[in-house]
Amino acid sequence: MNFLLLTQLLAAAAAVFCIAAFALRLRTFLRLARPADRSALKGSPAKGVAYALTLGMAPWAKESTRRHAIAYLRGVGFHLTVFLSLGVLLLSPWLAQVPGPIRIGLAIVTGFGAALAFLGFVSRFFEKSLKALSAPDDYFAILLVSLFLAAGTVALWNLALLPMFYIASALVFVYMPLGKIRHCIYFFFSRLFFGKFFGRRGVFPHGQQEMTA
């Protein structure tokens, strides 16, 4: 068995572990009660949810993200490149068939994401409020994802380095459901509850307040 195949199998096994662990988490979460809201509607929960998952995420939608636009966009950019890198990972057995300029273009994007992620790691050391909030888990998680993105970038640049990407991916997959990165599966639920709450009251999206007699 060559080294490439070995690392591919390692990444695949880690991915299976990750999916199984997340499935278990999700099952535990979905077994919890979801209280029904029986209060009379003032606005639309559906519109609120749609807003929470779209325009409500825009940098201009919140005072905090207007104030911290750069930090917020850094976070958004880094998360988008994580998804892009996961796509690259899925397509990796066929990367050799992707034209060179496209691979290089993708490498530039994921490399940018890696830089954004690494900046996030560094900022946890220097930004007072972030430092106060951070546990070792936070530093490790962002460093791990930075390495994953960086490994994806070098693998896109030079296919001979794909095993490095697979090893980094395996590490991320194993840690994902255990540590802080697991917040990803709760994100949609949190935004869903947010949207339902404020949508029901007609607070979000703006302009849906109706005067009812």
Partner: protein, 442 residues
Amino acid sequence: MSEKTETALGVLQKQVNQPLAAALEVCARCGICTEACHYYQAEPIAAHMPSMRAEELRKVYRSEYDWLSKLFPAWTRSEKLTDEKLATLAEMAFTKCTLCARCTINCPMGVDTPLLMTSIRAMATATGNAPEILEMLADSAIEKGRDPSSYLGYFLDSIKDMEKELQELTGNPQARIPVQKKGARILYVALAGAHTILPAAAIFETVREDWTLSIYEAANYGVFLGDASRAKAIARRIADEARELGVQEIVISECGHAYYAMRWTAPNWFGDEFNFRVRSIVEVIADYVQRGRLDLDPAANPEPIAYHDSCNLGRKGGVIEEPRIIMKAVTTDFRELTPSREEAYCCGGGSGLVANPDVMDLRMLTGKPKVEQVRRSGASIVVAACENCRLQLGDLSAHYGAGFGVTAIADLVVKAMRLPGAKNTIETAMTSAQLDAVRVEK
């Protein structure tokens, strides 16, 4: 593990449902919410970061529910619950957060920090760590509900006296404040004191509304305690009264948390039994204004006047446009505070803080961003549709020598109605000391 911590963890376990679990798990500790909090605005220290406060509960949660944290607590900074930790959590949840939800709307994940803080309040209340004054006020309200006859005679006498004032105010000797009127359309639930009854009565009288006054107060201190059973018992008195009288609608006085409890929470407590429409008096007055049922002269209120959005009424309650409809109809120089509406700053007195004399200094500190907002607006009067906000704003104005007056929406409306017996001035100097006086009197 002590009995107290065991009880507290039991309360936490009972409360963990999907929204709470999401709020506990989703935070990425990005710190974006930091400046959204008025505590942090007033005193920028790490302990005032909303995410930091929420972390205090998460540490305990992780130590119980997350196996990585159980194995390596230092790695995730998890912490076992102890009696000391419980007392610290209780102190934080009851005094360092007003449950205003400003951090929630500013969080990229939408973390419901008020839900986390309410859970801590519930844990604290169940273990005797809640502020005594809140427990006392909640229990006294429940007691009144059990036996209204103990105070009904005195209450009806005071309403008779108030009726005379209403007749003078409206110039109508037939004006009445109906109590326990069966079949009335509206059950109006006021707060302690004539100031939340008379203006509403004058407005109802003018539009010939079919209404009756509740024998109970709207305030619900059970909500502040995070104690659903006590909150429910307090709300039940009003729900039962509404059912017995056969009203169609419960209208809540200008009180943020009372509105929130009856409008948004009570239907979930009582289910099908709770088949009344619930509105704030602010929504009802806005409706009258829009339908042209009130003859209003905005020149009666020529001062620069700002409206403060109460968190329970505005951001958490959805009553955002209605007060503005009224303000524009009854004033000539209405000014918006910046930021306002759902982005408004909490005044610093919400969620029971105004009732707690031990936190006066803290209230004055954390209300500073609000005072600065008012100063920037140039308003000489601030209107708030919430009693706790009005008391806090009155205290703030006096503390900082800001010189602005504080009043309720209904008072401005009554002044703009140019009633024959109306005074030229309105009461604008409300402070928490006055509230204490009312309590002593009662």
